[in-house]
C-alpha cells in the first residue's frame, strides 16, 4: 500500500466524525484521515454555546464547544490525521477502493484512496423557499442556525424585533439567545399542532421569557423592501391550509426560520448511496454501512438527531464497523436479512435493514413517532402477527427520538423477512 493510501477517511469533523474516527482507531485502524471543511474541529457544536450537551453520555451538563472539546482532546497522540479547511467534492466507489476528491488552498486538488469511508457531513437548514412563504425578499430573514453563527461566532446582532417560525430546537434556543442579547422576540409560530423541539427547550427558552408559542399557525406573508417590516401570521386547518380571518400582523425587522433540517447527502447520492426519503439520509444496515460497500454513515447526515449524545454512540458504532470492514471481518451478504417496515404511527427507523448474523448481543433501533402519545403506549415490533419485542413508554413525541434495544435472541425468532414497527396503545 502506498503512503498516500488510507484505511479510513472520515468526511466531517463534527461530533459524528470525531467519535467515528476515535472509535475506528480504538478498534484497530492506524491510517485514518479526517477531512473537515471548516477551519476548526467540532462542527456545529462550536456555535452551540448553551448547555445541556452530554447529559446521557458524560452524565454532565456541558456546552457545545465543551462537548466537542472532550473528543478533540483525545485526538492528541492518537495518530489520526486531521486536515481542516478542506472540502470533499466527489466520492468514487469501486469494489476494493474508495477515492475521495478533496480540495484545499494548502494541498490543492487531491484524489485520496482509502478502503472505507465514513460519511459525517451533517445537515443543512430548510429555507424559507423550501416551505414557500410568499412575500417580498428583504434582508432580515435568517435560518436560525445562520443567525446563531452570526451572534455566537461573529459577535454580530441580526435584528431587534424578531419572530420565529418553527419550534425546532435551534429556533427555541435562538429565541432565548436573542432575548438575552436585548432583542424583543414577539412570538414563536409552529405549523404543526405540536412542537418539534425538546420539551426542556420549550420551557427554558420560551416559557421562562414569556414568549408565546402559537401552534397550528404559520407565516403567510413577509413584507418590506429593504429590511423585513411586517409579517402575517395565520392559523392553519388540519390540512395545514391558512384559515381566512385569523390573520395577525407583527411589526418585526427579523424572521428566524427553524423549519427543519435536511441531511446533506448530495455527495453520497452522487457516489451511488441509496437515500431513504423518510430520513433524507442513506439506507443503512445494522452496522451503519450504506447501500455502497465500504461507505458508512453516522450523525446528522444519516438522520437528524436531537441529542448529540446519541450521535456519539451511533458514530462509535460506525467507526467500529468500518474498522471491522477494513480488517477483513466484513459482513457477508448471506444469512437472514430482515427489513424493518414502518407502520403509519412511526415515521422512520435507523437502521432500515438487519443482517441478523451480524448482530452481536443486541441491536439498538432509533425511530421517531409521528404524533404525540401522552398516554402510556408501546413500541411494538411484529413479525406478521407475532410480537417479537415490546417497549413501554409513558410519553412520546416526534421531537424526541426514541430508541429500542432488541436482543439478538429475539431477532432470531423472526421467521419472515420483514419486521413491522408500530405504536400501540396500552
Amino acid at each position: 500500500m502506498a503512503r498516500q493510501d488510507y484505511e479510513l477517511i472520515v468526511i466531517g469533523a463534527g461530533p459524528a466524525g470525531l467519535a467515528a474516527a476515535l472509535s475506528a482507531k480504538e478498534h484497530g485502524l492506524s491510517r485514518i484521515l479526517v477531512l473537515e471543511r471548516d477551519t476548526e474541529l467540532g462542527g456545529i457544536l462550536n456555535q452551540c454555546i448553551h448547555n445541556g450537551f452530554g447529559l446521557h453520555y458524560f452524565n454532565e451538563e456541558l456546552t457545545g464547544p465543551e462537548y466537542a472539546g472532550r473528543f478533540i482532546d483525545q485526538l492528541d497522540g492518537s495518530g489520526i490525521e486531521i486536515v481542516c479547511d478542506t472540502m470533499v467534492i466527489r466520492l468514487e466507489n469501486s469494489d476494493d477502493w474508495r477515492i475521495v476528491h478533496a480540495m484545499s488552498v494548502e494541498k490543492g486538488y487531491q484524489r485520496l484512496k482509502c478502503r472505507a469511508v465514513i460519511l459525517a457531513m451533517g445537515c443543512r437548514e430548510r429555507t424559507r423557499f423550501a416551505i414557500q412563504i410568499p412575500g417580498s425578499r428583504p434582508a432580515g430573514i435568517f435560518n436560525a442556525g445562520t443567525a446563531q453563527r452570526y451572534v455566537n461566532i461573529e459577535g454580530k446582532m441580526v435584528g431587534r424585533r424578531v419572530i420565529i417560525l418553527g419550534s425546532g430546537d435551534i429556533g427555541l434556543i435562538m429565541a432565548r439567545r436573542m432575548t438575552l442579547e436585548g432583542a424583543k422576540v414577539l412570538a414563536c409560530v409552529e405549523l404543526l399542532p405540536y412542537s418539534g423541539g425538546l420539551n426542556r427547550n420549550i420551557v427554558q427558552c420560551l416559557h421562562d421569557f414569556d414568549i408565546p408559542l402559537y401552534l397550528s399557525h404559520t407565516i403567510t406573508n413577509i413584507e418590506g423592501k429593504k429590511r423585513v417590516q411586517r409579517v402575517t401570521v395565520q392559523q392553519v386547518d388540519e390540512n395545514r391550509r391558512p384559515i381566512p380571518g385569523t390573520e395577525m400582523y407583527y411589526d418585526v425587522d427579523t424572521v428566524l426560520l427553524s423549519v427543519g433540517l435536511i441531511p446533506e447527502n448530495e455527495l453520497s447520492s452522487e457516489a451511488g448511496v441509496k437515500i431513504d426519503r423518510r430520513t433524507s439520509g442513506p439506507f443503512v444496515y445494522e452496522n451503519l454501512e450504506t447501500s455502497e460497500k465500504g461507505i458508512f454513515a453516522c450523525g446528522n447526515v444519516l438522520h437528524v438527531h436531537d441529542l448529540v449524545d446519541y450521535v456519539t454512540e451511533e458514530s462509535q458504532a460506525a467507526g467500529k464497523a468500518a474498522a471491522a470492514f477494513v480488517l477483513g471481518d466484513a459482513p457477508a451478504d448471506s444469512g437472514h436479512v430482515i427489513e424493518i417496515k414502518t407502520e403509519p404511527t412511526v415515521s422512520y427507523t435507523v437502521p432500515q435493514t438487519v443482517r441478523v448474523n451480524e448482530v452481536e448481543r443486541s441491536l439498538r433501533i432509533f425511530l421517531r413517532v409521528n404524533k404525540i402519545w401522552e398516554e402510556t403506549s408501546y413500541i411494538v415490533f411484529r413479525d406478521g402477527d407475532n410480537v417479537i419485542a415490546r417497549f413501554k413508554r409513558d410519553y412520546m413525541a416526534p421531537g424526541e427520538m426514541e430508541n429500542a434495544n432488541i436482543p439478538r435472541v429475539l431477532l432470531d425468532r423472526v421467521k419472515g423477512n420483514t419486521l413491522r414497527v408500530l405504536i400501540e396503545e396500552a
Binding site: 471543511r37 479547511d85 472540502m87 467534492i89 476528491h101 480540495m103 484545499s104 488552498v105 494548502e106 494541498k107 490543492g108 486538488y109 487531491q110 443543512r124 437548514e125 429555507t127 424559507r128 423557499f129 423550501a130 414557500q132 410568499p134 412575500g135 417580498s136 425578499r137 428583504p138 434582508a139 432580515g140 435560518n143 442556525g145 445562520t146 453563527r149 452570526y150 451572534v151 461573529e154 459577535g155 454580530k156 446582532m157 441580526v158 435584528g159 431587534r160 442579547e181 436585548g182 403567510t220 406573508n221 413584507e223 423592501k225 429593504k226 429590511r227 391558512p242 425587522d253 448530495e266 447520492s269
Partner: protein, 477 residues
Amino acid sequence: MFDVAIIGAGVSGSALAYELSRFHLDVVVLEKENDVALGASRANTAIVHGGYDPSPDTLMGRFNVDGARMCMELVDRLDVEFRKTGSLIVAFDEEDMKEVRVLYDRGLRNGVPSMEILDGKEVCRREPNLSKEIIGALWVPESGVINPWEFTLALMEVAVREGVELRLCEKVISLKKRDEGYLVETERGMYTARYVVNATGVHSDEVHNMVAEQAFNIHPTRGQYYLLDRSIGEVVKSVIFQCPSPLGKGVLVSPTIHYNTLVGPDSEVIEDCENTSTTREALDDIARQAKRSVPSLQLGSNIRNFAGVRANSDYGDFYIKMSAPHFLDIAAIKSPGLTCAPRIATYAIELLREAGLDFKEKEAWDGTRRVVRFKEIPEEEREVFIREHPLYGRVICRCETITEGEIVEAIHRPITPVSLDGIKRRAGTGMGRCQSGFCGPRVQEILARETGKAPEDILQDKEGSHILIGDTKEGRV
C-alpha cells in the same frame, strides 16, 4: 460635459454602453440602484427567444432573430453562461395545433431558421416527462437559456473597462434642455450631456415625460417564478412553452444554465412597478398550469421563488425613437427585450448618428471578457490550477462549488459589488439549495475584507438592505 448619458443599467442600457465603448465618446451611465441589472434584467425567464412570437411589423419582430444571433455571438466573446436548448411550443388539442401553425408561419416571416412541427409521439420521445396529452409542438432550435444578469454585467463591465463611466445610486429626478444638450439632475448631483438615452424599463414612461409629450404608458406586469433544485434531475431538455391563448402566454417549464428547473411566470398588472413580492394565489396558479405540461413536476423541491416586473405598455411594441431633440427613448422594452438588446443597441446607434452624434471608432477596443469557473475546469487540470491560484482551492459555496478565488476575482472586476446578491450575480454563490445559509456569512467576510469595509456595511441587496445591525453585548467589548 458627456457626449451621451444613458439612464438605466439594465440589459438595454448595458448593451448600448458596450456598443458605444467602441467609439471615441464620453459616455456616462446613471443607475438608480447600487448595481447593474437590478430590474427586469435580473428577474425574467432567462431565455434567448427564437423569434416566432412577435408580429413581423413590429420592432420586436424585426429585431428578434438578429438579436438572438448577436446574443449567441456575444456570450462567447463575453464568456457568459448560455446553452442552446431549443424551445418547444406544445399543443394539447386541435385549436392549439392551429396556433402552432400560425406561429410557424409567423416565424418564417420573421426569418426564424430550422423550425419544425412535431407530432405528439416525437415530442414524447424528445421530452419523456411531458404530458401524454400533448398532440404536437413547434420546435425552434435556434433558442436557448442564458444567465441574464451575468450577460448584463458582462456588457457593462467591458464598457466600463473600455472607458464608459458608470455612476451607481444616481436616481434621475429631472431633465432640462440646454442649448447643447441636457442638464440631468439626480438625487445626488448634476450631469450635463449632449445626448440622453432613456433605458429605464418600468420607469421609461416617467423619464420620457420629463422631456416629451406623453406617448405611451407603462403597465408594470409582474411575473412570479419557482426555481427547483437540481437534485430532481433533468425535467426537460428544452424550453417548454404552452400555446399562447386568450388567457395569456401560459407558464413555461425550462431548464436553466445551471441545470435547475425554472417554472413560471404568471402575468399580473400591478400599480407599484417595484413590487416584486410573490403571492400564494399566483404561485398556486402557476403550479397548476405548469403541471399541465409536466404532470410529475416536483414543486416541493423549490429552492427559490422570485418575481420580476416587465415594462409592458399600451404601445404594443418597443418604443425606440428620438422623442425630443438629442433625446432617445429605448422605452417599453418587454419580452423579447433581453434577446433583442444587442440589436436594439446597434439600432440606437443608427438613430443617434442620424441625430448628429459623431462616431469615431477607437483603434484599440477589446470587446471580450474571460471568467474562471472552477467547476468547469477539467478534473485533471485542477491540481495545477490550484497550485498556481491557491484561493481557488477553498470552496465557499458548497451547494454550487464556488471557490474563494472566484469571489475575490468577482470583487475586483470593473464594477465593485457591495452586497451578497452582487457576489451572487457575479460568482454564483448562494444560488443553490441552502440559499446562502452556509456561505452568506463567509461571503460577507470576504467582501468586507477585500473592499475594506466593516461586515455591517455589506448589504443583502439594494441600498438599505442591512443584514447586521451591530455587535452583540460580548462582541462590543
